[in-house]
């Protein structure tokens, strides 16, 4: 597949996506992309790469390309990608009105002086002609540096309502000069920039445009104008990378599985073909080989673009090419990758514990060093996310035998019911993929319905023991704000419920009015509220936090989730703490410290989780008994250490297995901290 002067080796294309590495952590960046290149992607791209100092959204980490040090940093990526036979792309851009400029302290720029709809308190300078020329010159300078750094594909990125789209969109552009008004004028900035970049590097690099077909709101143009721009710019473009949603509606592009099915962007992308003679790449959380093949066969797209699926499984292309379909570790659409790479942190993934750890911990998603003492048996107690992952990695590291023992009849631990909350069905992939892998591992043995006490663990016959017994929700209202139980909170009573009682035992609220009380702020309380409301209960979601499910804002689920709760008839009340529970009544305090009584026939407590650490502590407390039975070491992993995100519980199980030979596997090994080391003063 030709794109301008370059050739892609297949139709798998890793579109630009954030990592938290940018230009700041060049070796982490290079390693993350190189693994994908090794996994078969024909091209790997950086995250967004500002061309100017005033395109500054710090602390968000970007692949900014402002000087020759940036060039050298990013050259590590291109070299690593090329060594694996992939092309490398860089998503050059300017964010315009959305620059918080907290690093540079320059003024943000935009076609007109209209406050950013994305960042608070961000009002741009209306660009003077000289600003336009300067940004275009910056773009050309960055493109030249990109070429020198070895990039094959250079973007003039305007999707997500960044500067080129801000010129194209009447929402942002209210100019009256030759850059504003009629469509041709609004297209001028983008076209000029494309021409300049093409003139500068077009002979050596493919020129890609990431284009927003629909802003899913006012912050863009309508499909009709978006397609007109494709026609107008087509001669200047070698590759169209199309998507939907503005940055303020990013959840419409990186759609969570809660709201969006695989391939959901095809509805827009399939219109592009009639307006271009160039290849098209698009996204839609593609993980099904059938849908990918059909998408290409129907000519909806030329290239299967992926961000999240490439994070969940960097080896997706190879596995598909080799027909190893049941080895594809499918993205679950939870968007934890985004919540992790936001705000200056680095990427992570629920499904792929090695994502982001390629350089700093030296982890490869498909390769596992043989354990030092492969003659040992390991017993993993608990087949929730951490236990499943730990058992798989121990088995792949070649232990003689890995016994995964689960007390329940079913694998999955917390995932058994978490994935049954409304909208979270795809999360079951966490268990399904691991169940299939365990089936293929000859040295792994899975037992369900077997509850082991400390004596049974000691006598099991395994030298290594890992407790992965998970966590439970407090049944007494223990919570972050009082660190005490709530008087009257006792889940043995009919009118007090825990999440597990609702989801596993089938306990239901007595009476009409049910309050779901949340002091956690992620998916459980909202999920229970929606579920109970859809069953016909009158539900009020009372949260002690300032917002309903604020952590879901980090995963781009928040606004949609709250809308869905509202549509399901769930009333919502923020900033209210429940002080005591009486039959029919909750005594509460509002955010101003005032007392408040809420009528409620039942309350479901989503306040704090507690580790199921009793088995581990009992085992650890008696080293002699362990020794007597030949148990050399007992560790724990996942929620049983500290309750956390599923992604982090899986990470912890993975880490323990990777580091099982270290001096003290209970304490994680140091990782490479990729940062400036200034050296001693005067040196």
């Amino acid at each position: 597949m030709r794109v301008g002067p370059k050739t892609l080796r297949n139709r798998f294309y890793q579109v630009p996506h954030c990592t938290g590495f940018g230009t700041t952590k060049p070796l982490s960046q290079a390693a993350h992309r190189a693994i994908k290149a090794e996994g078969g992607w024909a091209a790997v791209c950086t995250e967004y790469a500002p061309v100017s100092a005033d395109s500054d959204e710090s602390p968000y980490v970007s692949a900014q390309l402002l000087d020759d040090d940036d060039l050298a940093n990013l050259a590590h990526l291109t070299r690593s990608a090329h060594a694996q036979g992939a092309l490398a792309g860089i998503e050059l851009t300017h964010v315009g009105a959305h620059a918080g400029v907290r690093e540079s302290r320059w003024a943000p720029l935009a076609p007109s002086q209209l406050a950013s709809d994305y960042h608070a308190l961000t009002v741009p300078k209306a660009m003077e002609r000289s600003d336009i020329r300067r940004v275009q010159a910056d773009w050309v300078a960055a493109a030249r540096r990109a070429r020198e750094a070895g990039f094959d594909i250079v973007y003039v990125y305007g999707a997500h309502s960044y500067l080129p789209m801000q010129f194209l969109s009447p929402f942002y552009n209210q100019r009256t000069d030759e850059y504003g008004g009629p469509f041709e004028n609004r297209a001028r900035f983008w076209l000029e920039t494309l021409e300049l970049v093409r003139d500068a590097v077009g002979a050596d690099c493919a020129i890609a445009v990431r284009h927003q077909l629909d802003g899913l709101g006012p912050a863009g143009v309508e499909l009709r104008e978006a397609l007109a721009f494709v026609e107008l710019a087509d001669p200047l473009v070698d590759l169209w990378d199309v998507n939907i949603g503005s940055i303020a509606e990013w959840g419409g592009d990186s759609g969570p599985s809660r709201f969006f099915a695989e391939g959901y962007q095809l509805e827009w992308a399939r219109h592009v073909r009639d307006h271009t003679s160039k290849p098209i790449v698009g996204v839609g959380r593609f993980t099904s080989p059938d849908l990918m093949a059909e998408t290409v066969r129907s000519r909806a797209l030329d290239l299967i673009g992926a961000a999240r699926p490439s994070i969940a499984d960097p080896f997706l292309p190879r596995k598909v090419e080799e027909g190893r379909y049941d080895e594809v570790r499918e993205c679950i659409g939870c968007n934890v990758c985004i919540s992790k790479s936001e705000s200056g942190n680095h990427i992570g993934c629920t499904q792929n514990a090695t994502a982001g750890e390629e350089h700093r911990r030296g982890w490869h998603p498909e390769r596992f060093a043989p354990a030092a003492r492969r003659e040992l048996d390991a017993l993993v107690v608990g087949a929730g996310p951490a236990g499943l992952e730990c058992a798989i990695v121990l088995a792949k590291r070649g232990l003689r035998r890995v016994h995964l023992v689960e007390a329940e009849d079913e694998l999955g631990g917390v995932m058994r019911w978490l994935s049954r909350l409304p909208g979270l069905g795809e999360w079951a992939r966490v268990v399904n993929w691991r169940r299939i892998q365990l089936d293929r591992l000859r040295n792994a043995e899975v037992l369900t319905g077997l509850c082991l006490d400390a004596r049974a663990v000691r006598e099991y016959g395994a030298e290594l023991v890992v407790c992965a017994t998970g966590a439970r929700w407090a049944a007494d209202g223990l919570n972050p704000f009082t660190h005490r139980p709530i008087p009257g909170a006792d889940a043995a009573l009919a009118h007090v419920l825990t999440p597990e009682q609702v989801m596993i035992e089938g306990k239901r609220p007595a009476g009409e009015r049910t309050v779901v009380y949340d002091t956690e702020g992620y998916v459980v309380a909202a999920g229970l509220a929606e579920l109970l409301a859809r069953e016909g209960h009158a539900v009020e979601l009372v949260t002690a936090l300032e917002q309903v499910a604020p952590t879901c804002d980090e995963t781009l689920e928040g606004a949609g989730l709250r809308r869905r709760l509202h549509e399901a008839g769930v009333a919502m009340r923020r900033g209210v703490t429940v002080d005591s529970i009486e039959p029919g009544l909750l005594r509460c305090t509002d955010e101003y410290g005032q007392s408040l009584e809420l009528a409620a026939d039942a309350i479901c407590l989503v306040t704090q989780r507690l580790s199921n650490e009793e088995l581990y502590l009992e085992l650890a407390a008696d080293p002699e008994a362990l020794h007597a039975e030949g148990v050399e070491a007992v560790y724990r992993a996942g929620d049983c250490v500290a309750p956390r995100l599923v992604a982090d519980a899986i990470f912890d199980g993975h880490r323990l297995a990777r580091e099982i030979d270290s001096e003290n596997p209970a304490v994680p090994l140091p990782y490479l901290r990729e940062r400036l080391a200034a050296g001693p003063p005067g040196a």
Copy 2:
């Protein structure tokens, strides 16, 4: 003044405070502290410095001291401080339960498994005995590295409810072993750690404890127990650094001037004297030499501690010592320093434009390079924050004459009325200090009540012109979410008001019910609502944002401000946009997209500011006319470029004056980006 084995040269002590530099930007860190050392502070300290990888609050930047690269990075600070005759302190700590561990992915640790009251979704591991030993060993290792890096003062920091206080406080500590229960048990962790650190480095370094006398809530201990701890630990401590407030109630420590007067912490700190034989340092936004002297004389404190006042004026000690009281640039207590150093960004200051710019832009707060062409006259149009600052810096750079011309009768621009909003009185210091400095500059001339049009500017006789004409609030409801005026919004009508109309012209809402409509989220809407409510109007604050005044959460003012609004009788409604204004009625949409009608006799629009750029644009559009009158260049600065924080407007005026000799002063010069430069691959 002796502290352990060290001697302080005077009683001015820069207590630990965040910068956003930490160990990550070592030269910026060193330069920021070195300037204070030069300005006379007897000691300068780092921000909080975690000793373990699990004490990880990334993306917050800390001075973590985990390895020898960190040591070398921080040695730049100590060397710079020593060169200026100051001692250097490092605030070693472990944040315990408050570690979001987004970088390390270790588990957070705490005495008991109680969810953090500060960070959402953060549940710690209850520390095993081995965890306690490991953290204490980490602390000792960090202390040894600190000594090797040249630090004179080593902290065992437990204030702000970090790990040592978490052990001391029954709110966090529910252990039943020898580390929990009675006071002596709860004190054990801190005492043991102190002993270990003292044994390791106590002969060479002073051992300081930062101690929280009152958590201002449950997250600490009562004053009585806090003082009992002082007695108990006193033999192990060389310096008590005392304050109040937990990290979740940080606004009680770094109290905004809106709520706290100078010296407000003395109420607690004065109790310490009777319980210790060691020196005491405390804070309270001290800027008045009289109060400082009285505080020391009364033996309330031995050392005047400062974080914010040392940021606003690094030379405060020298100026006080030399009796140059009216040169002290007093902190205004706006906490913009905190909002800027939060979340991975770097420090800044409303009063001191050079704060944080010492290394990367090479700016010194008291020294100004002579301008290249000192024979020129400059005309600065507009004496708001940017104009005042620009004029002062131009004058200090030695231009022949700097003319600052203000159309109004009073200096200050937006500060004339911003500082009259409830609680913001101290903000007037921005203008007062600058007025005094201008008076002392012989080459600066200030004219008020003179409104210049383009012709008058050209004919003024100055070769350099700077427009600093500020910004105004949109009078038609233009806002970030629609980028359009609101139908019916016309400030010429009696029932539609702008902030300036209320604050300058004295226009007041007609009728009973007034809505203040906010789409900005900082101090203006909340201030107007409180002011009007206190005047007797029935006020509802309607914000399109998810929270009332969310930017005030970044300055630690949010919770208190909302409580104050509530007490003033202001009703508050979040997530609501105003779609049209009719007499007596607002048509609105709520956060779920549903229509809503609000009865309102008047509406005050706080939606977006617009630059007063007309004069600049007219001047710039006619270069020939400028040339004819001998005007060589016209620039603009501050809100007149793009409306922004007062701190950033002042910064912009300062920057322009510093860079007036550059090739194109309109475009800021690049700054040193202190970051990892990996160099070319394979090199």
